[in-house]
């Protein structure tokens, strides 16, 4: 479904200052890794990843970083906003033991995938939730993951919680145990996770985000080099074999005009 639906914000939860989760009572039928376009009439429309979806309710978690994501922090419970989706490809559960690596907002889809894996019968002890942030106050969904009993590995840049360092440091310690690695986060982090997975010959699936305008494969702003794949249709979730073909992964992305910008 790609037509816009107007939905009431049922509940808002502040995850930490400047970051909120917005809950909608709506059957979205989304899969982890997919996204929705969020429309605030008069303010604009942007793609947002889905942080959770239990079939009856879904939510999105948004940090106020740009003009739009800051504006959305002002939305109140009971307000109506426009939603288009779910859009794009999703993660596919493969193997017996998995690592879910999230950075920043990427924690949402990773926690969603952990819940789906448990729901589909994977043992929680075979699921590793690897989450990184600058500091402990910015970690997302630790309690949510404790509830379903998966292994939690935390890294912080400043060492205020968990291991001091990067998510790849935590991933290195468990990589031999896992069959498949999933990752959503800043692109350079994703590239480091991909390289590590390649080095250890592990399957991996990564969400590659590009400037998205239409979300339905028409405008071409999210096409990657050299394949021309649209990250709203053929992506955003790509597996290791597909990522191998995307030469711009970890190197550059295009802005709203179509100009290349290096990472």
């Amino acid at each position: 479904m790609t037509e816009v639906v107007m939905l009431k914000v049922e509940k808002i939860k502040e995850e930490y200052p400047g970051t909120k989760s917005f809950f909608f009572n709506h059957t979205l039928n989304s899969q982890p890794g997919q996204f929705v376009m969020i429309w605030l009439p008069g303010l604009g429309e942007k793609p947002m990843s889905i942080a959770a979806d239990d079939g009856k309710q879904f939510y999105i978690t948004i940090s106020g970083v740009g003009p739009f994501s800051k504006a959305i922090q002002g939305v109140k419970e009971g307000d109506t906003i426009g939603i288009r989706g779910p859009l794009g490809t999703h993660f596919n559960l493969k193997g017996n033991t998995i690592a879910l690596v999230g950075g920043g907002y990427g924690a949402g889809p990773m926690a969603f995938l952990a819940e789906l894996a448990v729901w589909e019968g994977m043992k929680p002890q075979n699921i590793h939730y690897v989450i990184g942030a600058r500091t402990k106050d910015l970690l997302l969904f630790e309690q949510r993951m404790k509830t379903i009993g998966v292994n939690i590995h935390i890294t912080t840049d400043d060492g205020t919680q968990g291991k001091q360092g990067r998510v790849t440091d935590a991933l290195k310690e468990i990589i031999e145990e896992v069959d498949t690695i999933y990752c959503v986060g800043p692109e350079m982090m994703e590239k480091a996770v991909y390289d590590l997975a390649q080095e250890h010959q592990k399957e991996c699936e990564i969400s590659l985000e590009r400037y998205t305008k239409c979300g339905i494969g028409i405008c071409g702003s999210c096409c990657v080099d050299p394949t021309g794949w649209r990250m709203c249709i053929e992506g955003p979730v790509l597996n290791q074999d597909q990522l191998k073909k995307v030469s711009e992964f970890g190197k550059y992305h295009r802005d709203a005009t179509g100009k290349k910008n290096n990472f």
Partner: protein, 310 residues
Amino acid sequence: MEINLSTSLCGVRLRNPLVLASGIVDTTASALLFALKNGAGAVIIKSICPEPRTGHKEPILHAIKGDSMLNAVGLSNPGLKIAVEELKNAKSRTKEPIIANIFASSVEEFGYSAKEVSRANPDLIEVNISCPNVEDEFGKPFSCDPDLAAEVTRAVKENTNIPIIIKLSPNVANITVIAKAVEQAGADAITCINTVGGMVIDTKTAQPIISNKVGGLSGQAIKPVAVKAIYECYKAVNIPILGTGGVMTGNDAIEQLMAGAVAVGIGTAIYTRGIDCFDKINQEIEEFMQENNYNSIKEIIGLAHKENKK
């Protein structure tokens, strides 16, 4: 007998009559190649102007029930310098026709853009004088005034040796007047049609959905408008017509060829049927030709103008 899907546009051979329309998944060389890989006979890059443009704020597009959509992207493009590099890159990666597309805010700038874009040596240059979505910035499109449309045509012709296609607007009183004017001014072909002006309002919030408020309607809803424009222009001018507007199936393509188009643009079908719609539509054209005893596309072009042909 072997079915021949090839056609030609201003002397450029197309392996089949389906052309990726300008503005649809076509900002980069890679995107153009992706459409060719999926069966397009030729591809047109998204409209280019001298300086980079980010386009309108999102929402830029709204899907409408019944295989149509309203868009106002606002002519986002990286500017001539980068776009010429993308065109060169595309040319180096394929032998299939690569078509440039330019727009500008003045007659002089059209001439300048034609000269610059020719450096990439595209097979053809389409001239967008008819985008309906930038009126606030550019005033009425050049497509509404036969004299201005002719002036733009002359300016472009003076600055390039590459054949040019003028893309006409359906949002005019009589499209054949414009078609004749650009033909007389030296246009090598015309595209019929650009999108039809339209608007969608969300009734819950009482707000226009796309940020530009008004936009261009494409897809199934506009196909009869396109067929009429092609049919009338075919009678009015002697230059070839690139039909565009609402072609979703092989039968739709055949209809526009019969109206007089030598090739047809594909846009909204990519949304409704996927990027491989080129392969699918080509297959459908071939099946139609087999069932109806046609051997080549050339036999079909303009057939609707001949009485009791079948």
